[in-house]
């Protein structure tokens, strides 16, 4: 920059960057704007832009003869989704599995989170944190493939069931919906533990003491003090487990023989080249999550994140 100004006067004037900085110093709002324009620009253009494109494509169609996208408004994609029962069945299945995974994760996560937040010594708590977080550092695919080995016929899970006398487990495990659900529950468990932990941790001990002083039994304290206070955190965690299951298509493909919404989107886009239908079907989980988030907001989940 300085090389661009070869002739310098004897009394050096402030350099260009210095002048700019002085000028900006008097305009804090502009400064903030300049700082935020890049991240928010990225968010607006890339994130909402792609959503807008998705939305537009959903109302276009594919010319089956030429394979070219016809850019004129049509509801044919949605018509196809409604008239062919297979798509409704796939949506139902995806939502059902997402709900099962969410409930199971909540049931497993709560005791762990409670122990971490209110019982464990600081040392043990740190250790538990590490154990909960460590799996997140491993590759998603590595974990799925590891689980394929675990649930395979005559795999370790099958073997464990045999030990306790259940001999027909291989007909349920292996490539199946049960295996898929187990893998989902494992995959998203940390996303449920951590918000619940944060929620439990925020409840002052004095509340529990007060509840006990007023004669409440532990069950009553749990139902009437802890649960209402931790509910927003629970809902926050469920947003993760539910939406991650809803959008996944790799676990169904690798561990089960079933199709999720994502598999149909993938096949429509990647195999049939029918991007409009893929876009239309992709709007289904977007819609489901929009409703879910509205309900979650009512329950105060966003204050708990």
């Amino acid at each position: 920059m300085t090389t661009a100004e070869p002739a310098r006067p004897n009394a050096p004037a402030p350099s260009a960057p210095r002048r700019l900085s002085a000028w900006l110093h008097e305009r804090p709002r502009l400064r903030l704007g300049a700082l935020l324009v890049a991240p928010f620009g990225w968010f607006g253009v890339v994130y909402f832009g792609s959503l807008a494109v998705l939305f537009a494509y959903a109302f276009w169609s594919l010319d089956p003869q030429t394979g070219v996208v016809v850019k004129s408004f049509t509801l044919s994609n949605f018509q196809r989704m409604v008239t062919d029962p297979v798509y409704g069945a796939i949506v139902q299945r995806t939502v059902a599995v997402a709900a099962i995974v969410t409930v199971a994760d909540a049931l497993i996560a709560f005791p762990i989170a409670y122990y971490m937040a209110r019982v464990a010594s600081p040392r043990r708590r740190a250790l538990l944190f590490m154990s909960v977080l460590l799996p997140l550092w491993a590759s998603y695919l590595v974990k799925v493939y590891a689980w394929r080995v675990i649930v395979a016929p005559s795999g370790i899970l099958d073997w464990a069931f045999h030990l306790v006398g259940i001999t027909d487990s291989s007909s349920v495990l292996g490539v199946s919906d049960v295996s898929m659900t187990i893998v989902f529950i494992y995959m998203w468990l940390p996303y449920m533990i951590l918000p619940i932990y944060a929620g439990l941790e925020r409840i002052p001990s004095s509340y529990l003491e007060a509840s006990a002083d007023l004669g409440a039994r532990s069950g009553q304290t749990f139902r009437r003090v802890i649960l209402p206070l931790v509910l927003p955190a629970l809902v926050a965690g469920s947003i993760f487990t539910f939406s991650l299951t809803l959008g996944d298509y790799i676990i169904p493909q690798l561990v089960s023989n079933t199709q999720f919404i994502g598999n149909v989107v993938y096949v429509s886009q990647g195999v049939a080249g029918d991007i409009p239908f893929a876009a239309a079907f992709a709007l289904v989980p977007v819609g489901i999550m929009a409703v879910y988030l509205l309900v979650a907001r009512r329950l105060g989940a966003f204050d708990a994140i």
């Binding site: 089956p64 951590l194 023989n257």
Partner: protein, 425 residues
């Protein structure tokens, strides 16, 4: 308390970071089971839809551009990292120092290959396309015609593979034939007292029920043709002549057969590794396969055998094709010439388990001592047997035009895709 707050903060950050990273890994992760779809997909799907009326075939090979990017079937471009005896990439680079870097993207289905080529303009120089992708690539002007005189070994190719319909249109050669084979019926020999002889083992509900959950089907929609091929002999009243040219009635019958079979199917495999895993651990014991999986399984001492059922079989005949949008066309042309030399043809045929397009490979194959060598290879694979070749129903893209007196009454491919989604349920 301070420490607690810290932990809570860490927890929140971890959640956010993990949520972000997980949503970022999911699409990328799909590369293993499925495909890496380029970002430019939206724009690319609006490519021109027919090949130019008059073509100027590429008639010379210039100096290499330093790199070569391929879309290939598994086992078609090996560098010795899987089985060290099978390596034709390093020798290619040694022979062509001007193409020193070879990048291979393997695809699991023809549809995936087509999508990679049509969405990834400039990313890939060429593809090893089967007949159900090659004609689509030609029709949609994705691949360039070449002068076969560019390839010194062209004249040695089996005569019926020099200008087959799956790569030669209007007299223009859109690539060079690579090899061919059939989709056989594989089964675990330890689970079957009597070896199966017919596709009815998987399609006839009465027989299939015995192996409920152990049957595996191919996960690509072209598999509807396998059902149609079975119906061709099983239900002559339907009058199926070609399993890829199905009228609505014939198509519905094939789809109904697959839907009836659905409860017995344990896995629709799309990734060849899936099928290898499932046959190894016993999830699957019978189903359609490529010779590659059979060879690999036998190589790891899994008791499997593959047969040609009495109804015949579907199959593939593959072509190396040059993309019109290739960034390294000269390297691709050099690769195409390389792939039909007898030495390389012998390697790939033996490794993948298919009939080489160039019968001159037979001398090498018949005396091979490599791990996958089999006795009298070229007899076993019917390399020059035109009658056998003609008996295979080779993969091709179903289009509305039946190609015969029935006219435009056949079910086009996009309906195959939609119907197969319905089959899988």
């Amino acid at each position: 308390m301070v420490q607690r707050k810290g932990l809570a903060a860490i927890a929140v950050i971890a959640i956010l970071a993990a949520a972000c990273s997980s949503s970022a890994t999911s699409p990328a992760a799909s590369s293993a089971p499925a495909s890496q779809v380029p970002a430019s997909q939206a724009a690319a799907s609006e490519a021109p839809a027919s090949p130019p009326a008059s073509e100027t075939p590429v008639a010379s090979i210039g100096p290499g551009e330093g790199e070569l990017d391929l879309v290939a079937w598994v086992g078609y471009a090996e560098d010795g990292s899987n089985v060290k005896e099978y390596d034709w990439i390093h020798p290619f680079v040694a022979a062509n120092p001007d193409c020193s870097k070879v990048v291979v993207k393997t695809a699991d289905t023809s549809d995936e290959m087509y999508t990679l080529m049509s969405n990834g303009h400039g990313l890939y120089d060429g593809v090893s396309a089967s007949g159900d992708a090659s004609n689509r690539l030609i029709d949609r002007a994705e691949v360039a015609p070449v002068d076969p005189a560019l390839f010194p070994d062209f004249k040695d190719l089996t005569p019926f593979l020099q200008s087959p319909a799956n790569n030669t249109v209007n007299g223009f050669h859109y690539g060079i034939s690579h090899g061919w084979g059939g989709n056989t019926l594989m089964y675990r020999t330890d689970k079957f007292a009597a070896p199966p002889t017919s596709w009815d083992s998987v399609f006839d509900p009465a027989k299939a029920a015995a192996y409920k959950g152990k049957i595996t089907d191919y996960g690509g929609s072209i598999y509807i043709a396998d059902a149609a091929l079975y119906l061709k002999t099983q239900n002559p009243a339907l009058g199926i002549t070609d399993p890829y040219e199905l009228t609505q009635e014939q198509f519905d019958a094939a789809v109904a057969l697959l839907k009836a079979q659905h409860p017995f199917v344990g896995k629709y495999w799309t990734s060849f590794t899936d099928e290898i895993d499932n046959f190894t651990n016993g999830t699957s014991t019978i189903g359609t396969t490529w010779q590659y999986q059979t060879n690999t399984l036998k190589g790891s001492n899994v008791p499997v055998e593959a047969i040609v059922p009495t109804e015949g079989m579907t199959g593939w005949s593959d072509t190396w094709m040059l993309s019109r949008y290739a960034k390294h066309p000269n390297c691709m042309l050099k690769w195409m010439a390389w792939m039909v030399t007898p030495e390389v043809q012998a390697q790939v045929a033996e490794y993948f388990g298919e009939a080489p397009a160039n019968p001159k490979a037979c001398d090498i194959l018949n005396t091979s001592t490599k791990p996958y060598a089999i006795k009298d290879f070229c007899t076993a694979y019917h390399v020059t047997d035109e009658a056998f070749y003609n008996a295979i129903s080779f993969w091709k893209t179903p289009i509305r035009d039946c190609g015969d007196s029935r006219g435009n009454t056949c079910v086009p491919y996009d309906e195959w895709v939609a119907a197969y989604t319905g089959v899988k349920g």
